[in-house]
Structures are given as structure tokens and as C-alpha cells.
Symmetry: C2
Subunit: 174 residues, 2 copies
DNA sequence: CAACTCATGTAACCAGTTACATGATTCA
DNA sequence: TGAATCATGTAACTGGTTACATGAGTTG
């Protein structure tokens, strides 16, 4: 049930169309909660049917502008302060680790160093993003920075772990 | 498509029944790829229909013992060495961060310190697990340790990040 | 013999992905 | 006027969760 709260959260800042929201999912939210077009339009319909959103304007090309209602704000707040976030549980990258014993040690090591490389690239990508965003002191920018920092620390940790793990597999011949 | 590979991976080490496999998903794989009973039985049926598994014994209470076939091993290997792991993308914990600006700073800080606490508890839980497992040098134990280390580093990083983030929100009055 | 564990299976539902389908407006 | 962008919607499918249903064998 997080998609609806993502929509409510975006619309809490400013009213927008499905098309506008979609772009937020492809950019800022891409690393926290991506969503597809069909999902967004479908959920907007349900949210307005339930009175959490209103259509407050209609523009060219059938554009509908959605605005959050009071009960929408209440639902968002409830989700933020009362509902415990579910932990992320699934990682096919980590699942593979359990089965590396079915490969030759050299192959297992190749897998782990490749993962280190993926994490390093992701870290570099986020650093580039960090450099391109204007970090004024606005509230949105503060929390955006906090979220980005999570990605930076995560990718760094993954890189360090994968390099360490690769060493565990074929220890340097002593 | 990772569930089937998790099953193949478990059966690559030893033949087992659906019931046996289910227990692996509740214990060792719980933190990498959990699965439910209905999912496991369903997938075992599909895998044997496709010839990746065979039923090699039947026991009391309708127990069926599944064994991996050669094409099952080939598929597992393919998945391990050729298929790029998909990155984990969804975190409702992180999604909430984007919308903390709709709360009072004090409430946002409460959220972040609570997340630090959750991560600390999880780290402690994994440490306890680490102490209770016999870490002989067996291949399974080596890779199990590597996976556990991932959890330890992740929870530590999450704790550090959440504490740092909480400080960003209401900086100590200077 | 009662309670517990072992053991499998199915049905309904929910969230998310991919693909199909359509058309208006803007801009070079 | 042709291409790009804006804009919405639906259908089919996949993976995962919850709940229902049944029954055999084991242990105290």
C-alpha cells in the first residue's frame, strides 16, 4: 500500500497531473519507490473515488489536475507516524551468495568482484547526481539530501562488503 | 524468477521435500528471499513438470522427495553466472523520508531515531545469530557467513545513517 | 486418544509489469 | 506537416500473500 502514499506525499507539496507525477517516479522517487504509468493512473482513480484526492482542474489533452484533500492529508500523516515501515527482505544478489558453493571458487570470486564494481558505479552515479542538484536549505532539499546520503552509504557499504567477500573466497596464498 | 532458483540452489546441496525446503525459507533464506508454503509447493510442481527436478522418493503422509536434474543444475548455473542480479529498488522506509517535510521537525526526528533503533535491534539480533552458528570451514558455512556479514554491515550502516539524519533535521542549537 | 508435527494442495486476492490503444497539442 | 511530447486509459499476465481444506503419522 505504499504507492498510494507516495502519490499523497507528492501531492501534499503541490497539485499535479498523473503525467507530472509519473515524472517524479522516474526521477526523485526512482530509488525509493518506482511506479509505472498504468499503476499511477489506476491508483489516482481509486484515491479520488475514496475522497483522498480531488480533481481540481482539467486542462488540454484531457489533463486532470489532482489535489490532496483533508482526508488525504490525514491518511498520509497516519502512514508517516503510525505505520511501521516494512523491512526490505528480498535481494537476488544476496540470494545468489548462498549458492556460490555450487561454483568453482574462482567463479564465485568473479561474481563478488563484479558486484563490487556494480556498487562502485552506482556510488559514482549518485555522486554525480549530488553535484548537479542545488542544495539550498529548502525542506524538500534537506530531505532529498538525506535520502541521497542513504544511497551513497548503501552503495559504499555494498562495495566494501563485496570486496571483503571476494577475499574470503580465495584467500591470498600465504 | 528468483524463487525457482532458490529452490534449485537448495536442492543442489541435498534432495528434500517441499516441507523441508519451506523450513529453509523460514530460517537461512528468510533475510534474502522468503517464500510461503503455497508458493513453494506450486513452484516445485512447475519445476518438475519442466524437468528441472525429479521426484526421487515418496514417503509417509504423501511426502515427495525432490532431486535436482542435470538441466536443473544447468539452469542454476546459468542464473548464477550469466544473469545480472536486479537491484533492490523499493523501500517504504526511504520513501517516507521524502515526505518528512509534511511533518513538524520534531516528528521527523522521532521517525528517524526510531529507524535507528530498529536497525540497532536488527544488528543485535544478527550478532546473536552469528554467535550461535558453528562456523566450521565448510563451504556452506563460508558463504552463510558472507551473507550474514552483509546483514551486519547493512544494519550498522542504517543505524549510523538514521542517527546522522536525525541530527540534520533539528541541528543542536548552537 | 489427544495434541502436535508432518505434509500437501487449492482458491481468492493484491501489487506490479508489459503491452496495447488512442488521441490532442506543440514546435521546428 | 511531421515528429516529439503530453496525456490518459485498459487488458493480460506474473509473482506473491492469505486463507481455506484435508489428512497421515508421531509422541506423551
Amino acid at each position: 500500500m505504499s504507492l498510494r502514499h507516495a502519490l499523497l506525499g507528492l501531492l501534499a507539496n503541490r497539485s499535479a497531473s498523473g503525467y507530472d507525477l509519473l515524472k517524479s517516479f522516474e526521477t526523485s522517487l526512482a530509488n525509493a519507490w518506482p511506479a509505472t504509468q498504468s499503476q499511477v493512473y489506476g491508483e489516482l482513480g481509486k484515491l479520488s473515488a475514496e475522497g483522498l484526492l480531488d480533481v481540481t482542474a482539467e486542462g488540454p489533452r484531457g489533463r486532470k489536475e489532482y489535489s490532496i484533500t483533508e482526508s488525504g492529508r490525514a491518511e498520509l500523516r497516519h502512514w508517516l507516524v503510525e505505520v511501521e515501515p516494512e523491512r526490505v527482505r528480498r535481494s537476488s544478489m544476496l540470494l545468489r551468495v548462498f549458492f556460490l558453493d555450487t561454483l568453482a571458487p574462482e567463479e564465485a570470486r568473479t561474481y563478488l568482484t563484479a558486484q563490487a564494481e556494480v556498487a562502485a558505479e552506482r556510488n559514482a552515479g549518485l555522486r554525480a547526481l549530488e553535484a548537479n542538484v542545488p542544495w539550498d536549505g529548502s525542506p524538500l532539499s534537506v530531505y532529498g539530501r538525506v535520502a541521497l546520503e542513504y544511497g551513497l552509504r548503501l552503495s559504499q557499504m555494498q562495495r566494501d562488503w563485496a570486496e571483503w567477500a571476494a577475499e574470503q573466497v580465495t584467500p591470498p596464498t600465504t
